[in-house]
């Protein structure tokens, strides 16, 4: 991390490109933008569609994914849809969303959902399909009913892959919200990036970009903690 910052500083001072400021300028720009409130308020604006979109994508994605894993008819109906959604360049649909839903919050939430949902749902589906058949047989042989099999065996055993999907989904959600802010209407983070680029404040632009990347990484990292705390006690004791 330190090495990376140093390399950035050196590269910025050479300089490689006029549009590539040294690390220290970016930190200073970050300080200025926090002080004048433009960065925090931009984050608040961006977080709105992001959080709503991710909650919607998580709930629908996990329910659909687990459902498709458990029931053949849902698999038949759902999996092809999500595979197409995942394979298609969904960013290309954003202009279409704008056409239908306008430029408000709904369109941005939808952009987050269509990017995050497929990977969450498909991972949930694969997670359930990969649950150890012998654990399921064990549960049945010790007279577990369907409900117990799902809640005591399938979901805990599937949770690592479901959470891997959530992490990918959250990253995709960040992509979705920034794309929406750049392509639909410049608000929040997207607005800050566009604005500072247009007036050649490259240090500010980089500060915004670095902050959103860092924020995304921290969120994903926190999710891993939550997963271990909730579902994987054996890993907690090991790492402690």
């Amino acid at each position: 991390m330190v090495l990376f910052c140093l390399a950035w500083e050196v590269a910025g001072r050479i300089p490689i490109n006029v549009a590539f400021p040294p690390f220290s300028d970016v930190v200073a720009a970050f300080g200025r933008m926090v002080a004048d409130g433009s960065l925090p308020s931009a984050f608040l604006i961006t977080l709105q569609p992001l959080v709503i979109g991710l909650v919607v994508a998580t709930v629908i994605g996990i329910v659909m994914g687990v459902g498709m894993g458990l029931r053949d008819e849902l698999e038949w109906a759902g999996v092809p849809v999500f595979v197409v959604m995942q394979a298609a360049p969904m960013a290309a649909l954003i202009p279409l969303i704008t056409y239908v839903y306008g430029i408000g919050l709904t369109a941005k939430v939808l952009a987050v959902v269509i990017l995050a949902l497929p990977v969450i749902a498909l991972n949930g589906y694969k997670a359930v399909r990969n649950v150890s058949p012998s654990l399921r047989a064990m549960c049945r042989s010790f007279l577990g009913n369907r409900r117990q099999e799902i809640f005591k065996i399938v979901l805990p055993d599937a949770s690592p892959m479901i959470f891997a999907g959530l992490r990918l989904g959250i990253s995709a959600g960040f992509v979705g919200v920034v794309l929406a802010e750049l392509l639909i209407t410049p608000t929040g983070i997207g607005d800050l990036i566009t604005y500072h680029r247009s007036i050649a404040d490259y240090a500010e632009m980089y500060a915004v970009i670095a902050t959103i990347i860092l924020f995304s990484a921290v969120t994903v990292g926190l999710l891993e903690r939550v997963e271990i705390a909730l579902f994987r006690p054996e890993k907690k004791e090991h790492s402690a």
């Binding site: 150890s132 012998s134 654990l135 047989a137 064990m138 549960c139 049945r140 042989s141 010790f142 007279l143 577990g144 117990q148 005591k152 065996i153 805990p156 055993d157 579902f231 994987r232 006690p233 054996e234 004791e237």
Partner: protein, 268 residues
């Protein structure tokens, strides 16, 4: 000829010892081409340890899973304590080849899992589980997780879980095949000792002739493709002495040799 005589003798004997599990005309097909089992008829007397022995592909695990109610036979029926099997039941408990332990649960929760599924309250089921964890020689490991245990210890947890539900019949599917040799021997000895204490009927699938002869009251030899009963052998090995002596007992060695001669034709 000898096989026929043996089987005849066997049937008459089983009639006197009360059978707890009866397998009647069981057959199993996978799809239309693979015939795994053909017309299997067997009785398992109460309190005895019966091994199902045979080369791979003879359907011994399939037969055990049908008895467990985990697989449906294509034809025939299994009767346990006078009732036809339609699925898993409380009078049978299964020990899995790959242990089937929940990696996210402690030894204690794994051992108590059968009772947890029955809705028995936590304090009571953990008390029972602790008793059987102690019985299989794992006390002190209650709060460990499966990945911290060796293969042999994991299977001991699997055995404790099966014992904890207090079933009459234990079904063991190659329980020692994923356990290393020294631990396997120790575990076999412990299993013999546990049998004396717990008084269960055991049905045991194995591909090891030595293991079958060492442990069993009766050995059912299955022939492959399709699986049929080819012979039933009663080893009559005196198990009163120390384990090392049993393994050098002439009756033990002769039976191993005899079975090997019967099975060598099936070797690839």
């Amino acid at each position: 000829m000898t096989a026929a005589v043996r089987m005849l003798r066997e049937t008459t004997k089983s009639d006197t010892a009360q059978p707890i599990v009866e397998v009647r005309h069981i057959s199993k097909r996978y799809g239309s081409s693979v015939e795994a089992l053909r017309d299997i008829n067997l009785t398992f007397p109460t309190g005895q340890l019966t091994s199902l022995l045979g080369p791979s592909g003879c359907g011994k695990t399939t037969l055990l899973k049908i008895i467990a109610g985990l697989l449906e036979p294509t034809g025939g029926e299994v009767v346990v304590k006078g009732k036809t099997v339609t699925g898993p039941g409380p009078e049978r408990a299964f020990v899995f080849q790959d242990f089937a332990l929940m990696p996210w649960a402690s030894v204690l929760r794994n051992a108590a899992f059968g009772l947890e599924l029955q809705g028995i309250d936590k304090k009571k089921r953990e008390e029972t589980a602790r008793h059987y964890i102690n019985q299989v020689g794992l006390s002190g490991f209650e709060n460990r997780y499966p990945h911290e245990l060796s293969g042999g210890m994991r299977q001991r947890v699997g055995l404790a879980r099966a014992l904890a539900v207090n079933a009459d019949v234990l079904l063991l599917d190659e329980p020692f095949s994923a356990v290393d040799e020294q631990n396997r021997r120790k575990f076999q000895e412990d299993l013999l000792r546990l049998r004396e204490v717990e008084r269960k009927t055991l049905i045991f699938v194995t591909h090891s002739i030595e293991e079958a002869v060492y442990l069993s009251d009766r050995i059912v030899l299955l022939s492959p493709r399709p699986g049929r009963v080819s012979e039933i052998i009663e080893p009559h090995v005196d198990r009163s002495g120390p384990p090392d002596l049993i393994r050098r007992n002439p009756a033990y060695l002769d039976t191993v040799e005899e079975i090997w001669h019967g099975l060598r034709d099936y070797a690839d």
